[in-house]
């Protein structure tokens, strides 16, 4: 109760002081600070600038949650955006449907290609693939020996042609060798090269043309600075790589170059490499890197807490309405939004014991939620508040406006009525109420 009052007071104060919504003024200091944080984390100058501007434009006008400041709010928004941007949807490796899967490793000198090749080989071997490592670095002294030693450690064959200096030929032959020996995955380790080295960039293009890799991975040292945009772009222009590997993340570099690369080539980051041990390989976690780049874990968790509190209060409001039987479509819409945040509706309802067969009449397919949302959005305020007035012509209008059939509208209204009945039942059942209280706030 007291807490509730404090929050209300806080909200009122925010309105008075102009901190209730994000404005250019109340976030400008934080934005400047965040820009600096990004630059210190090695995010490229241009990338940092456009990223910050972009987030700002999107966020202006957003409501500031109770108990956090506009600066904290925008920090969290930027963090979310950072996570979203670095998270790819297609972040898994692609495997060839027919014929062997060929993975080509490319990158600058000393980025960690050889070690990572061995790690990836072991990772895939553990997933029951039959792996061959190819030593196609014919320049660096003892590069071949390094790969061979690693191959022995993880018991994976290494293909090399000792007398050859032709990386294209070696790559090609290794594919033939794999096919002949029933190996279905080939990882080709190549020499580190500078993106301005025309001869070597031409070589990597020729390797690509000769073996047609299923997947090309660009390996980047997480300690890389501002120039990451240039090398990534040049490599991408040359071989159009499919994924990025971020290495040496076991150190304390902030890893901002990952954002730069993502921004200039828009290729998913697929793996993190975290040490010299051959099992220190991980699927890339965008949220971890986002907090690594930004720091500010305290601010982020503070805002997250406030968000949970906010959701809890909304839930409480709804609950009150449900129980007082004042539930209308406006509340329904709110509830849909909350459910979307929390996960599947069926699983939520499933958590309430004793609902049993009564649930069967309530169709709660999650995909339906989007449809339902669009229907409710086509209702007038009056209709949402008082569903009883939804006569035939109103229903027709809503159907047209939301792009649904009249049957859809009717079904929804029927469901809504079912729900009303259920709520009445709910109201009279103390056991259910208790169960709901317990489930809340998880």
């Amino acid at each position: 109760m007291l807490e509730d009052l404090t929050l209300k007071f806080d909200k009122a104060l925010k309105k008075v002081t102009g901190q209730g919504r994000l404005t250019e003024q109340n976030i400008s200091d934080t934005m400047r600070e965040l820009r600096r944080v990004l630059l210190d984390a090695d995010v490229n100058y241009k990338v940092a600038k456009s990223f910050i501007d972009d987030v700002k434009i999107k966020a202006l006008g957003e409501e500031v949650l109770a108990s956090v400041s506009p600066g904290q709010m925008i920090t969290k928004i930027l963090y979310d955006e950072l996570t979203r941007l670095m998270g790819g949807t297609r972040s898994e490796l692609t495997f060839s449907a027919s014929g062997p899967t060929i993975i080509l490793m490319v990158g600058l000198q000393g980025s960690g290609k050889t070690t990572f090749s061995a790690k990836l080989a072991k990772y895939l071997k553990d997933k029951n693939r039959k792996v061959l490592l190819t030593a196609a670095d014919v320049y660096r002294p003892a590069a071949k020996d390094q790969l061979k030693t690693l191959g022995t450690q993880i018991e994976i064959p290494v293909f090399s042609i000792d007398e050859s200096k032709d990386a294209v030929l070696i790559s090609q032959e290794s594919v033939k060798f794999a096919v002949a020996n029933g190996l279905n995955t080939i990882i080709v380790d190549t020499a580190g090269r500078l993106h301005v080295d025309d001869v070597l960039m031409d070589e990597i293009k020729r390797i690509k043309a000769a073996i047609k890799p299923t997947e090309i991975l660009f390996v980047v040292d997480s300690m890389t600075g501002q120039d990451a945009v240039n090398s990534a772009k040049a490599f991408h222009d040359a071989v159009d790589f499919d994924g990025v590997v971020l290495t040496k993340l076991d150190g304390d570099s902030r890893g901002g170059s990952a954002l730069s690369i993502k921004a200039v080539v828009d290729v998913p980051i697929k793996f993190s490499s975290l040490g010299e041990k051959l099992d220190s390989i991980e699927i890339f976690h965008p949220d971890r890197l986002a907090s690594r780049i930004l720091g500010k874990g305290d601010v982020i968790s503070l805002v997250e807490k406030a968000q949970i509190q906010y959701d809890e209060r909304e839930a409480e409001d709804l609950e009150k309405k449900l129980l007082s039987n004042n539930f209308n479509f406006e509340d329904f819409l709110k509830q849909i939004k909350m459910i979307k945040k929390m996960g599947s509706l069926k699983s939520l309802l499933g958590m309430i014991p004793g609902l049993g067969t009564n649930l069967k009449n309530v169709d709660v397919d999650d995909k339906q939620l989007i449809k339902v949302e669009s229907i409710i959005q086509s209702m007038t305020k009056e209709e949402r508040g008082n569903p009883k007035i939804l006569n035939g012509s109103r229903r027709m209008r809503i159907a047209k406006g939301s792009g649904n059939s009249i049957q859809d509208i009717n079904r929804l209204i029927k469901q809504f009525k079912e729900m009303g009945k259920m709520m009445k039942m709910f109201k009279n059942n103390k056991n259910l109420q208790r169960a709901m209280k317990k489930g809340k706030g998880k």
């Binding site: 241009k46 020996d145 040292d221 090398s231």
Partner: protein
């Protein structure tokens, strides 16, 4: 000491990189007669984009702005000059030529310990250094104290052969300090002038590996009290701001005496070394401009900055 280096190669190596910085500055300045905020912003961008760091960039701009306030000459030439001067004043001058040939022969063996994070270019740099000392007429020995990384021995051995110098190594997994001990004893016996010690790449966050370096350093001093004469930190020219932390941490465990910056034959600017030099009070000794054995250049702050702008 390697005065046989030619400046053109240095400039060439740097030119691709520096051209952008220079062009940017020229461009920023050319159209406007009076320095305005936009120009300074652009200059700041150019500096930050070279990994100089936000602090240093802002300081350089601040000082340039202050200087310009009193200058009537706001031509692009003059502004460029002011920035050059600023950058040069930040870089630590390495006046003492402690590593010249006569001082090496005076107090030998001259022991050089080379440290750095993984893949920075330590082994390659050792090969290049060995080659140069050998060419300067000195008796060189390489110690392979990277007993960890796969094929580190083989790699270094190839470099030793290329440079035509002797190498001491043990099998993988041996105590690196024991390799160092053996190499130094060997050096004393065989009248060696310069001992170059390659170490395994390590991230400065690994305290056990940093302890191992400390131990190596102690062993060196125990066998040869005046040594190590130099402890070089090899920094990848592509590094961003983390190189500052590297320098800090390696300094703590090995007392660095100099920096070597590698891979400056690409488009990376290596600007972070300016900060390191200023903060750690250590000079930059050499730069790496390629994978060939003669791709090591003397670092000279004046020439370096000149190469940035010409």
């Amino acid at each position: 000491m390697f005065k046989n280096f030619n400046l053109d190669k240095l400039k060439n190596g740097l030119s691709k990189t520096k051209k952008r910085l220079f062009d940017g500055i020229q461009e920023a300045i050319s159209t406007k007669a009076v320095i305005d905020e936009d120009i300074l912003d652009e200059l700041e961008e150019i500096l930050i984009s070279s990994d100089i760091g936000v602090d240093t960039a802002m300081n350089v701009i601040k000082n340039t702005r202050a200087e310009l306030y009193y200058e009537s000459d706001r031509s692009k030439l003059n502004i460029t000059q002011i920035i050059k001067n600023e950058l040069e004043s930040i870089l630590l001058k390495d006046d003492k030529i402690a590593s010249d040939k006569s001082s090496i022969i005076d107090k030998k063996p001259h022991v050089i310990l080379v440290v750095g994070v993984n893949g920075a270019g330590k082994t390659t740099t050792i090969g290049k250094l060995a080659y140069n000392y050998k060419n300067a007429g000195l008796n060189v020995l390489i110690a392979s104290a990277d007993t960890f990384r796969a094929a580190a021995n083989e790699q270094l051995e190839i470099w030793a052969n290329r440079a035509g110098v002797k190498i001491i190594q043990k099998s993988t997994g041996a105590d690196p300090s024991s390799v160092v001990f053996e190499a130094l004893e060997n050096a004393k016996l065989n009248n060696v002038d310069v001992v170059l010690i390659d170490t395994a790449g390590r991230l400065h966050t690994k305290s056990n590996l940093m302890k191992e370096l400390e131990k190596i350093r102690n062993v060196i001093t125990k066998v040869i009290p005046h040594a190590p004469n130099e402890v070089f930190l090899v920094v990848d020219g592509n590094s961003g701001q983390n190189a500052l932390v590297q320098a800090n941490e390696f300094s703590k465990s090995t007392k660095l005496t100099g920096l070597i910056v590698t891979k400056l034959d690409g488009t990376a600017k290596g600007g972070v070394i300016i900060q390191i030099s200023a903060e750690q009070k250590i000079p930059i000794k050499y730069i790496g401009v390629g994978e060939g054995i003669d791709d090591l250049q003397d670092f000279d702050s004046k020439e370096f900055i000149e190469a940035l702008f010409s």
